[in-house]
């Protein structure tokens, strides 16, 4: 539903996007990833008509977005900027109500449908219970849900979000991403988000767009395009891509950058927890990982203490489930 044609955009003298042709699938969760300053936020801002392109156009269902009245665009496209300014003392319901702006006029400031949409949006984002609280007293995660509720009150088919999980702790990141996922799956909304975390992108995205210096390097379903080669290409980072133990989506694990980071106590943990499940092969394959042996044994002695060097005792760490164990076998063969 959103696409760009020969898009050139940037700030002042700096051109960030130079001739970008892009197609964003409708009814999908699209995630844009890339290193810092690769132009992903610029792209999102241009898509959301927050930034006027120097050349080319953003098309919304085939019509150039700049030819549409901004009010009409606001009824079809919701936008959540990167770090919106929280107005002092505004209550949650009040802020969510601002999302009805494109449906209001100064002589027609409120109607039944506004009430209904605000109620709906607050319920969807799970902020109904906060309705009367001032937004500036909420936690980061709650605040982000309130902002999302505001864009939901706009009743748009599509939602564009610029790094909606930045500055949130992991639990709140998951919470926000789950909300976006629900919107896409249960409400059929098109969601486009810029994310920093590749693994979250792989987990939630239907369509992944990887960018580097203002150009799209790869686009497609994450399970097809997210490979170690792509990560090296885009981020310049050596990594291992394994299936995520929980979802099976690609999981990006940075390669070993320093031998001292590979602690045998960790290997012991793996071997140990694998022990009870009777996978002798695992212990074996972890054992002969040669070079790490002698260097690591002193480490192991230091941290574990009474454990005899070379024969690590099973570490009491049963946290890893069987799903993890069944896949850990692939780690030693990463060939770094």
């Amino acid at each position: 539903m959103l696409s760009t044609r020969d898009l050139v955009a940037g700030y002042d003298e700096r051109t960030v996007l130079d001739g970008l042709d892009l197609e964003l699938p409708g009814d999908a969760f699209t995630v844009i990833v890339g290193p810092n300053a690769c132009g992903k936020s610029t792209l999102l801002r241009t898509l959301a008509r927050l930034l006027t392109p120097r050349r080319g156009a953003v098309l919304l269902d085939g019509t150039a977005i700049r030819d549409l009245p901004t009010r009409e665009v606001a009824r079809r496209l919701g936008v959540l900027p990167q770090s919106p300014l929280v107005p002092e003392g505004v209550t949650v319901a009040d802020l969510v109500g601002r999302g009805r702006q494109p449906y209001q006029r100064w002589w027609r400031q409120w109607s039944e449908s506004d009430s209904a949409a605000v109620d709906r949006a607050m319920a969807l984002a799970d902020v109904t219970g906060l309705a009367d609280r001032p937004v500036d007293t909420l936690s980061g995660g709650q605040r982000q849900r309130v902002w999302i509720a505001m864009t939901l009150a706009q009743d748009t088919e599509a939602l564009l979000l610029d790094e909606p999980t930045t500055f949130l702790d992991l639990a709140h990141q998951v919470e926000v991403l789950d909300l976006l996922h629900r919107l896409r799956v249960e409400r059929g909304r098109t969601v486009v988000a810029v994310l920093h975390d590749l693994n979250q992108a792989a987990r939630y995205a239907d369509h992944l767009i990887a960018m580097r210096s203002g150009a799209v390097v790869a686009a497609g379903p994450p399970r097809q395009i997210l490979t170690a080669d792509l990560v090296r290409d885009v981020f310049g980072l050596d990594c291992v891509v394994v299936p995520c133990p929980v979802t099976g989506a690609p999981l990006v694990v940075p390669a070993l950058t320093s031998p001292s980071l590979a602690r045998p106590s960790g290997a012991a943990g793996l071997a140990g927890s694998a022990g009870p499940s009777g996978a002798a092969g695992l212990a074996g394959s972890a054992g002969p990982s040669g070079a790490a042996g002698p260097a690591g044994s002193t480490d192991a002695a230091g941290s574990v203490g009474p454990a005899p060097a070379g024969a690590p005792t099973p570490a009491p760490r049963p946290s890893a489930g069987p799903a993890v164990n069944s896949r850990t076998g692939s780690y030693p063969s990463k060939g770094i």
């Binding site: 801002r45 959301a48 008509r49 927050l50 901004t70 009010r71 009409e72 665009v73 606001a74 009824r75 919701g78 936008v79 959540l80 900027p81 990167q82 919106p84 300014l85 107005p87 002092e88 003392g89 505004v90 209550t91 319901a93 009040d94 109500g97 601002r98 999302g99 702006q101 494109p102 100064w106 002589w107 027609r108 400031q109 409120w110 109607s111 039944e112 009430s115 605000v118 109620d119 319920a123 799970d126 902020v127 109904t128 219970g129 906060l130 309705a131 009367d132 936690s139 995660g141 709650q142 505001m150 864009t151 706009q154 639990a171 709140h172 919470e175």
Partner: protein, 360 residues
Amino acid sequence: MTAPTVERPVRRSRPGVAALPGRALVRLGPVSVQVRRRSVLVAATLVVLLLAAGLLSLCLGTPYVALPDVLRALSGTGTPYDLVVLDLRLPRLVLAAVAGAAFGVAGTLIQSVARNPLASPDVVGVTQGAGLAATVALTTGAAAVLVAPAALVGGLVAAVLLFALGARHGLAAQRFVLAGVAVAFALRALTEVVMLTADPIDGMRAQIWLIGTLAGRGWTETLWIALTLVALLPVLAWAGWALNSTALDDDTARGIGLRPVARRIGLAGTGVVAAAMVTAQVGAVDFVALVAPQLARRLVRAERPPLVCAALLGALLLVLADLAGRRLFAPTQLPAGVLTAAIGGPYLIFLLVRGRRRSS
């Protein structure tokens, strides 16, 4: 994994069209307007206080006129006090109320564009433009009737200068204020040059004009300010609504289908015209424009200054300031401009202290 705190969704009963919390919906045919309940309360209180202050101001003075006589004079039944009440005190009282309201409106609009509680017509240079033009008119011996029109033109020229300098980057708050400060300083310097080179007597008259006083002014000035406000009324109705979005950042505002730059230009333009007109008529009674919006905002507990309440509070402040100026050191009259600061300042300090205590 730690579960994030889950708030129990509370379904509040919402019969029919409910407005947002703390608001009431006023409907009149196809027109529906959202009003903060608290601002209705504050506005009603301010109207009562304004009436009381007005009556007090008609009573006090030399000679003292008792309230029944004031009421009789106002009802037009003819009393020995008609001259004092109707011809001497009433015009000045009405002027104070109308000018105060105009200052309140101008301050509200300018502050919300500048996103700065310290912004006022004085800070963005409009007052200095009017002041320079008035000083030139007063020191070159131009006819007295030309002083106010000259000041109006001066204020508007300063506003044009302000917009020309601040327009880049869409009249962003910082730039708007900086451009205003630059214009204000340049014009103030010019005013001083004109004043120092002029005849000392003329310089003195200009000085008094600059401080701002209601003495010797009345219906003509009131008429001009009132006409300006009435002419701006449709714009002000829009502004009351548009002000709602001024607390949002530009990206968010664009996201919900607003044009923040056009909005700012409209709001600032309206504020600057109101400020230029009122300053031209009564001089730089400035503190009202600075303090009335902030006091009103705190009283209403809104995130931005409320237009109507700020206007009412401006009117009340100026009426009280003029009354105090007349009576405090009688028979010496102090200009209202001096007294507004004396009344508004401590109250703002009180609110700041109270606000800090509550938030800590």
